[in-house]
């Protein structure tokens, strides 16, 4: 493998890993804040115990998310120095804002929340968990603005002497249509992830028969959040597809492995074969008009084929292939969408069980709700593969090719050593964090203080 391949592999590997924890953090911090608010409003001890129980899961997730985020920040310079040198003027701004506006907020108030139980007035302490949730939500906004700029660069002008993009309209970064929909989609997906984690842990506890009142309440909260956010995430995701299709037609054509231009276009549920070297896969169960609807919002919308876009791009940007990996594109889209439907089914099942008051009794539902926990992680990963693989071979759509962004001064061996180090370290971290979170999730609730107004001891290391 070349330095370019290794650098891409390292970035993919570490960012997928990082994003296992980010949505849990964002989702669980909001849900934990809701639980603490419920305690604040009702004074019921169960809500306090749940707050601390899920808060501890959130903290483990934050710890791993924060430290793996450092690797992402450093990697732009380490592996992609040509990219950083070229686009830092635009791309660096949202990253610096993220640090100032979001990271300080999240980590400072996390400390206040964890250690402030007996130091802060109750109301102020409640505000600190909301500040943590706000910090995570804000940080996603800035990083999504930066990422959306790579999908659809806006708000810049090319410098006459260096040929590099220079920021000339910062608002454009935050009104970028790809950003508006992409950010909302990521936030909703994070809430879905947090809700599914909360649901699965609650279901596990209900199966054990531990604290059925408390975990019945958290399962209900999770389900009530899960179903609408998942439906919205699907809706916004589909809108995002239309938007990206406008600016990155390869991405959408690739997701259907659509080599020739079509109108109207059907959507295949499965295909056998297919890929960059097989343009005539066997498509199984083609749903008429569905691709037209998904890609253009019109019943008879026209979708450009990969071949036609390729010849357009060749005229515009010169020789070379501009087609992303079609196999990854086609299947990541389907994994994301099909698994979302599966989660939705379990969510609706849960709502139905709530209505019938059988949540604490239905063992089948509880079993399903435990296992469903792996799905959001697969969906999130597939979603990122879809959007990042679909941008290839560009690192910034239309401005710089990925192969031109790699560090000129870094050797293949160097990147290989680094991948090896992070592989070992991340595997160990995954095991430890996984074991700790599972142990904690299975452990059950700590005994809470007897009266609602008695002081709550702080958590500590």
């Amino acid at each position: 493998m070349s330095q370019l391949d290794l650098a891409r592999l390292q970035f993919a590997m570490t960012s997928i890993y990082h994003f296992l924890f980010v949505p849990v953090t964002i989702g669980l911090s909001s849900l934990t804040a809701l639980l603490q608010t419920a305690w604040h409003r009702t004074g019921q001890g169960d809500y306090l115990r749940l707050t601390r129980f899920f808060g501890t899961l959130m903290v483990i997730s934050i710890a791993v998310g924060v430290v793996t985020g450092l690797v992402q920040e450093f990697q732009f310079g380490m592996d992609w120095s040509a990219y950083s040198r070229t686009v830092g003027d635009v791309f660096g701004a949202p990253l610096a804002m993220e640090g100032l506006a979001a990271f300080f907020l999240e980590s400072t108030f996390l400390g206040l929340w964890l250690f402030g139980w007996d130091r802060l007035p109750k109301r102020l302490h409640l505000a600190t968990i909301w500040a943590v949730a706000a910090g995570g939500t804000l940080s996603a906004a800035f990083i999504m603005a930066a990422n959306s700029w790579m999908q659809h660069p806006v708000g810049y002008a090319l410098d006459a002497s260096t040929g590099r993009p220079q920021l000339d309209d910062v608002w454009a970064l935050f009104t970028n249509p790809v950003f508006l929909r992409g950010y909302l989609h990521v936030l909703l997906a994070s809430l879905v992830t947090g809700a599914v984690v909360m649901l699965a842990v609650s279901a596990w506890q209900l199966r054990k028969g531990a604290a059925p009142d408390a975990f019945g309440a958290s399962a209900r909260l999770a389900l009530v959040v899960l179903v609408p956010t998942l439906l919205l995430a699907m809706l916004v995701g589909s809108e995002l597809g239309v938007t990206e299709g406008t600016y990155q037609p390869m991405k959408i054509a690739g997701a259907e492995a659509q080599w020739t231009t079509c109108q109207p276009c059907s959507f295949s549920l499965f295909q056998v074969g297919g890929g960059n070297n097989d343009q005539t896969p066997t498509k199984i169960i083609a749903v008429p008009h569905l691709l037209s609807l998904l890609a253009t919002n019109h019943w008879n919308g026209k979708v450009l084929g990969l071949d036609q876009i390729q010849s357009q791009y060749r005229q515009q940007f010169g020789a070379g292939s501009y087609v992303p990996n079609i196999f990854v594109q086609y299947w990541s889209m389907r994994v994301m969408a099909y698994l979302a439907v599966l989660v939705l089914v379990v969510g609706l099942w849960g709502l139905w069980a709530i209505r019938r008051r059988t949540l604490a009794l239905s063992h089948w539902f509880q079993r399903a709700a435990v296992w469903v926990v792996v799905l959001p992680f697969l969906m999130n990963t597939a979603g990122w593969l879809l959007t990042e693989n679909g941008r290839q071979p560009w690192i910034v759509q239309g401005l710089q090719l990925t192969r031109d962004g790699v560090s000129p001064s870094v050797g293949t061996t160097t990147v290989a050593i680094s991948i090896l180090v992070f592989l070992v370290l991340y595997a160990a971290l995954a095991v430890v964090a996984g074991v700790l979170m599972t142990r904690h999730a299975r452990g059950g609730l700590a005994p809470g203080p007897a009266a609602a107004d008695s002081p709550v001891p702080s958590l500590s290391y």
Binding site: V67, E73, G88, G92, A93, L95, L100, H440
Partner: protein
């Protein structure tokens, strides 16, 4: 003042803030097994920085992000050039960060020993490697005309840079020891105080050697700058205050010693940001590596609005957690422990 210079100052302030704040919690990480022999004592020591360390570390993240945004060429050349050293730094930061969270989660002596060791090692390598990196910026590494690093791994470790790393490790140790003295009670406090007395003269000697070496490496002659004079005064004052047992003032003095030592490096670096040892003409400077005027202007507005807010709430956090932590609080029932003294549910106003 040109905006690029303003951002150079801001970057220097962020790095300084990182060493001043994270400096003591790195010191605490290195010293926690030395000043406390039993589990209750160690937990007390770690809990003195429990609510603070994460927010302190953000200063490093923001310093790097500020370099990326304001000086893309500096960020690109430095981070790709220092690649393998940064891998080690990242490993140290990761291991250290999770060890706070993980060590108390399983009640086993071996488990805690493992994380204690990792915390100590991580806390040692972070100031050593960041110190070497800052030393490299001033000493110079091979950089060609194309602004790219053109050296080998060994080129990252000239004597001056290694000494910068060692000086920063010592400053972190002393800063950590004065912090523990100020924030704990009884035996832990006495041990930390004793340790600070031993560390202070050694650290003072290192800083007194570091300052002229920095100045001559930068080719600025023999007359020290004002910041360097302040650093000399601060480190001497710190030694005297530590030895005479003025705990609060000693910590103030180590804070100043750390801040002025780090700043003096940046003062001598200006207007360059990364010196080329190949040819001074290839050095990266504030002007040839800065972003465009518009980007700098936008970020200046953001920084001027947000930075005071950040300082306010971080300062407030320090106020909320100003009390000493005693190992007596961790003596019994290790599962649920108060992080604070008794009866203090409304002390944060």
């Amino acid at each position: 003042m040109a905006l690029a210079t303003f951002w150079f100052i801001l970057t220097a302030v962020l790095w300084t803030g990182f060493f001043v704040l994270e400096g003591f919690d790195l010191g605490v990480g290195m010293l926690h097994t030395v000043v406390a022999r039993d589990e209750a004592g160690r937990r007390a020591v770690i809990n003195t920085i429990g609510p603070l360390w994460d927010g302190n570390e953000v200063w490093l993240i923001v310093a790097a992000a500020a370099m990326f945004a304001a000086f893309p060429a500096w960020y690109a050349t430095m981070f790709s050039g220092f690649y393998l050293a940064l891998v080690v730094l990242l490993v140290a930061l990761i291991v250290r960060g999770v060890s706070f969270e993980f060590r108390g989660k399983i009640d086993s002596v071996r488990w805690r020993r493992t994380w204690d060791t990792l915390l100590t090692l991580g806390s040692f390598f972070v100031p050593l490697l960041t110190g070497i990196a800052l030393g490299d910026l001033l000493h110079g590494v091979p950089i060609g005309q194309n602004e790219e690093f053109a050296g080998s791994f060994a080129d990252l470790f000239p004597a001056y840079s290694v000494f910068t790393g060692i000086t920063l490790v010592l400053l972190c140790l002393l800063h950590g020891a004065t912090f523990i003295t100020l924030k704990t009670t009884d035996q832990v406090r006495r041990r930390a105080s004793l340790l600070a007395r031993r560390l202070a003269p050694l650290t003072a000697l290192a800083v007194l050697a570091f300052l002229p070496w920095t100045h001559s490496t930068a080719g600025k002659g023999v007359l020290p700058s004002i910041v360097q004079l302040m650093a000399v005064l601060a480190v001497l004052a710190a030694t005297w205050l530590v030895v005479s047992g003025h705990e609060g003032w000693a910590f103030t003095a180590t804070t100043f010693a750390m801040a002025t030592s780090v700043l003096s490096l940046f003062v001598d670096l200006y207007p360059r940001v990364m010196v080329s040892s190949t040819d001074p003409a290839f050095s990266l400077t504030v002007n040839n590596s800065a972003s465009g005027a518009y980007a700098l202007k936008v970020m200046s507005v953001v920084a001027i609005v947000l930075f005071p807010v950040v300082l306010a709430y971080q300062g407030w956090t320090y106020h909320v957690f100003r009390r000493r932590v005693s190992s007596a609080q961790f003596q019994t029932a290790p599962e649920q422990q108060p992080g604070a003294g008794p009866g203090s549910s409304a002390s944060g106003e």
